[in-house]
Symmetry: C2
């Protein structure tokens, strides 16, 4: 009564990560048991250990993968001429990327405390790397006299928090659609850094 027909490791692997992501985002890492994940996938709890050495690694891999794909996706965006254009691209990119992956985003921001110290260091390094992106843009803008903020680092943290906040209220069937939201946040980003209006 083991190895039922239709079983396939190539399919089950992604399904495990997928189920874990949804469940972790919904209930939190600590509140989700391996048995819940297994039940969601439709296998026994023991079979999970063919796809992850343990629960902690499952979480860490998930967060690391998310942050790496975030950085990669940003690097894939074509280079822009000028800080103002770059800021606009960044705001739009951030909104789009985050709206498309609400569960992964939620976990990456909320379950840092559930990571072991080694895994935390890894993830934190990636997060800082991404935080440098808006910081560099704003610094360049200020240096060129195109933007005006009193503190570049604080402004870039404020910008990220503002943009990421979209995930707390966005609903698929809500009042505003994605392109509109993207536009609005890009406008707010420009205002935030004091881009002089025409």
């Amino acid at each position: 009564m083991a190895r039922p027909s239709g079983s396939d490791g190539g399919i089950t692997g992604p399904r495990v990560r997928q189920a874990a992501e949804r469940l972790f985002a919904r209930h939190g890492y600590a509140a989700v048991s391996m048995r819940m994940i297994a039940a969601d996938v439709g296998i026994g709890a023991g079979a999970l250990y063919h796809y992850t050495p343990d629960k902690q690694t499952l979480l860490a891999d998930m967060m690391e993968t998310h942050l790496r794909s975030l950085l990669e996706a940003w690097q894939a965006v074509a280079k822009h001429d000028g800080p103002i254009c770059a800021l606009d691209a960044f705001a739009r990119f951030h909104i789009r990327f985050h709206l498309d992956r609400p569960d992964a985003v939620f976990i990456a921001y909320m379950e840092l405390r559930s990571l072991s110290s080694e895994n935390f260091a890894q993830v934190e390094a990636l997060r800082r790397q991404y935080e440098a992106v808006p910081e560099d843009i704003i610094r360049a803008g200020v240096d060129q006299g195109l933007m005006s903020v009193a503190d570049v680092k604080l402004a870039s943290m404020a910008l990220i928090a503002m943009l990421t906040g979209v995930n707390t209220w966005f609903r698929e069937d809500g009042r505003l659609d994605r392109p509109t939201i993207e536009q609005r946040y890009a406008d707010l980003a420009r205002s935030l850094v004091g881009v002089s209006r025409p």
Copy 2:
């Protein structure tokens, strides 16, 4: 071997809520056991049930108390003449209140998913009530031609997210002190809603 000397319900009650708040914020609601809370207070796990009917109520009471005191504290702030002044006061108030209660804030924003549906409805109602504060301010500002945003509700959500974000990076011994941070965020809030600079 029960009821040791020095025991006092009037003292233990607050200490329970205090310990629970710190532990919930640090490790998450699901990851904290009643035995951990009890150990932190220095009593047995069973004694906790003199101060809360159950773990869920402990969390819900905590969040409700926090949100009520948030609303109350805002109402205690003197009324301001004009939306621009009100926005400034709100930004400063929000930063100050949140920097003073990082644990309670963290829990109120992160453990909504750990609430039973009845408790969630209660807390959510209070949260919406607070969200109406900046919304009303910005709407007034726009109506009077003093501020300029494309979407009032979106802008107010963006503002709250931006301000609340301070808790993710603030460190007591960091580069910036509280008054400076307050000032910087108030400046950013003005910029965000397009207050025309002199």
